[in-house]
């Protein structure tokens, strides 16, 4: 039994460490972890923290109330990532405000925000800025059908969640392929605003999961037909990617990251927190545009980009995209990269084709031969690529499309033959008149002989 427990712990440890041993973040390695008490946290979250160190992060673990904590100095971020594992903390640092954390995200910093049933108002207000609304005080996520039934007393509040959203950019293939993952969660539920495209639920409750009071006497009697926060609408872990491509993960459970739940029976917590932390700290699913160019389709590939085009010109547009994972850049393979030509409204929106990608390449080139509209004006050529879990790419060029020159219109029309003939007839007539005037000689003999009397 003891050997079995040790084996399970080792498997959980290896699932979180080995696949990610070489992953490095694109945005930096300075990670700040804020916890209630450093010594206890190092013990409670040892598997998670050790995995972060193995992945190359400079992990700074601090008490949430440590007055020396600052996020910026002279406008520069001191850290690249922050993990808030102190859900009950009412304040951070000497005077860090919600605005400071939002500014941190706006300047490209990434965060993991972990909550619990003892969530402070600071966390509630912080999460609300991102469209995440945690449930009321005194509530917890409960599931009477799927819960951790072990010697650890859970009171049905350590639920075994399995409803993962299919977001391949965040979740690794082993987790996606698992039909019944078991992710132990002990904490508080949240409501997410499904109208915000930047926010996506990653782990939600199953049909029997709901948010309620874990103490029977505190349970208020519900009015019939009152909608319950349960099932798909009950958020457990949600992800947020800002317009500046900074990433934030909201987890209703800080215990999700703890050794106790990572090492629990049948637990896939290790794999799950590995995936969400890799995503949050920009170790994977980071897209970048390496280069883009456009030219006339009839011009040589090495020709310079023209200053302008004419209406109905056929152009060739190319864009090179890469994606970062496993510590290096790879060509980004997709079939939905779209080109847009816009002047107030989009005139064209076409899906680009992917050029054959060589094995050693780090970029994938997407191209298209596009006939420009027969409207002149100032257009914007853009590739605006936003997909759940991936960094967004927004590339645009302002291009002038000129009308045709006087001699670029269709010419030598059959309807104009009479007019062409008229001009040539006039030229021929003029030359004939000149020739007649220059070379004509008068009539001879009869008319020139004087009449004899």
């Amino acid at each position: 039994m003891r050997l079995g427990a040790l084996l399970r712990t080792w498997l959980a440890f290896s699932s979180i460490c080995l696949p990610s041993a070489s992953a490095r973040s694109v945005t930096g390695d300075r990670l700040l972890v804020l916890v209630p008490a450093v010594e206890a946290a190092i013990h409670d979250y040892s598997i998670f923290l050790d995995s972060l160190k193995r992945r190359g992060f400079e992990v700074s673990i601090r008490d949430a109330a440590n007055s020396s904590i600052v996020l910026h100095i002279d406008g520069d971020r001191l850290y690249d990532h922050v993990a808030l594992l102190a859900p009950a903390a009412k304040r951070f640092g000497a005077a860090l405000s919600i605005h400071d954390f939002i500014h941190f995200v706006n300047t490209g910093g990434n965060m993991i925000v972990a909550a619990s049933a003892a969530l402070s108002d600071f966390h509630r207000r912080l999460a609300a800025q991102f469209g995440v609304e945690f449930d009321k005080h005194g509530t917890a996520v409960i599931d009477h059908s799927h819960y951790l039934s072990s010697k650890v007393s859970s009171n049905h509040t350590i639920v075994a969640a399995s409803r993962l959203s299919h977001i391949p950019a965040v979740l690794s293939p082993p987790l996606l392929a698992d039909e019944h993952p078991t992710i132990y969660f002990e904490g508080i539920a949240h409501n997410y605003d499904s109208q915000i495209p930047l926010l996506a639920p990653l782990l939600t409750g199953s049909r029997s999961t709901y948010s309620g009071s874990s103490v029977a006497v505190d349970r208020p009697s519900l009015k019939s037909t009152q909608a319950q926060l349960s099932g798909r609408s009950l958020g457990l872990v949600s992800i947020f990617q800002s317009r500046s491509n900074a990433r934030v993960v909201f987890s209703g459970s800080s215990a999700l990251f703890s050794d106790a739940l990572v090492g629990a029976e049948h637990s896939t917590n290790g794999l799950f927190i590995n995936d969400i932390s890799q995503w949050a700290f920009q170790e994977k699913s980071v897209l970048r545009e390496v280069d883009h160019r456009h030219r006339l389709a009839s011009a040589a590939p090495s020709s310079l980009q023209p200053d302008h085009y004419r209406v109905s010109n056929v152009i060739n547009y190319e864009i090179d995209l890469s994606v970062y994972y496993e510590n290096k850049w790879h060509p980004y393979i997709a079939d939905d990269v779209q080109f847009e030509a816009t002047m107030l409204d989009p005139y064209l929106r076409l899906t680009l084709n992917r050029t054959q990608v060589p094995k050693s390449a780090t970029v994938a080139t997407y191209h298209g031969d596009i006939k420009l509209p027969d409207r002149y004006g100032t257009f914007t050529f853009s590739v605006n690529y936003k997909r759940a879990g991936f960094s967004s790419i927004n590339v645009h060029d302002t291009v002038a499309i000129w009308p045709l020159r006087h001699d670029e219109y269709p010419r030598f029309l059959s309807a104009a033959y009479p007019y062409y003939a008229g001009s040539f007839v006039m030229v021929a007539g003029f030359l004939a008149l000149c020739a007649a005037w220059l070379w004509n000689t008068g009539p001879t003999s009869k008319s020139s002989k004087p009449k004899s009397s």
């Binding site: 109208q195 495209p197 049909r207 029977a216 349960s230 779209q338 064209l348 899906t351 220059l438």
Partner: protein, 273 residues
């Protein structure tokens, strides 16, 4: 007329809960007019579900009644008594709480107001299930069946942004201008050329000739050639030559044309006198 849809399930046979110690009995689905006339009534016994799909209109709320017992038959006080409705197409879920009527007996009934709030904008077929639970006895789920929520209008959520490929837009180019038949053009071309032919014929008849060419060949031929070159330059400009090169060529031709013209015309005057 407001119709109350009372969904009560009377179970003849007791159905046991899937797992744990929660036993669900007396599950009944009923649709009634407000006057009390029954439109639809059906009992559900595990493992079966509703045999038909009752249609619930906008003015006919849904009521589910059931009883919960433990395995010893004692009435159970549930900590979780929910009726889960999942849209079969969109998979959107809604869980509505059932209230305890008496010990162990529960009822969920949707009023017209609640129906308008939850279902009017999302009509369609819903799968109904009872999701029950107790801290002491564990959890259980009971499939009731499908019902049709009708009468509302599907409303589009206001301008929700979704990340994904957008629909393609192909520009519709202007149709090329319709040209008249080429026979018509050729006919008018012939009519345009005809006067020149008539002119030349008339001149021939009048005795106009170019006999003087032999006498003054060099100078006048050069002059004529240079005049023809100016005509050719005009044609070249029309075909494709740009303005400034055209003017440059015209300037280059100007002096020779002037000198040739001086020579040819003076010779002509001399020959006349």
């Amino acid at each position: 007329m407001r119709m109350l849809v009372v969904l009560g399930v009377l179970a003849g046979a007791l159905s046991s809960l899937v797992n744990g110690a929660v036993v669900v009995t007396n599950v009944k689905v009923r649709v009634m007019e407000r006057t009390g006339d029954k439109i639809f009534e059906q009992s559900v016994e595990q493992p079966n579900t509703l045999e038909s799909v009752p249609k619930v209109k906008a003015s006919t709320p849904l009521v589910v009644t059931f009883s919960a017992q433990d395995q010893e038959g004692k009435a159970l006080r549930l900590d979780q008594a929910m009726v889960n409705l999942q849209h079969t197409e969109t998979k959107a879920e809604l869980a509505l709480a059932a209230r305890a009527v008496t010990e162990g007996s529960y009822k969920m009934d949707i009023t017209r107001k609640d129906f308008r709030r939850h279902f009017a904008a999302a009509p369609g077929q819903y799968h109904v299930a009872l999701v029950l639970g107790s801290f002491k006895n564990g959890g259980a789920e009971f499939e009731v069946g499908n019902i049709e929520m009708a009468g509302g209008n599907k409303t589009q959520r206001p301008t929700s942004v979704t990340y994904g490929p957008k629909s393609e837009i192909h520009h519709r180019f202007s149709e090329p201008q319709q040209m008249p038949n080429i026979i018509v053009s050729l006919t008018f071309t012939a009519l345009t050329v005809a006067p020149l032919v008539v002119l030349l014929q008339t001149w021939t008849g009048l005795g106009v000739n170019i006999n003087g060419l032999r006498r003054e060949m060099a100078g006048s031929v050069v002059f004529m050639a240079l005049i023809a070159a100016y005509m050719g330059l005009a044609v070249a400009y029309w075909v494709g030559l740009k303005l400034f090169p055209t003017l440059a060529y015209a300037l280059a031709l100007a002096l020779p044309t002037y000198l040739a013209g001086q020579h040819a015309l003076s010779k002509r005057i001399e020959s006349k006198t």
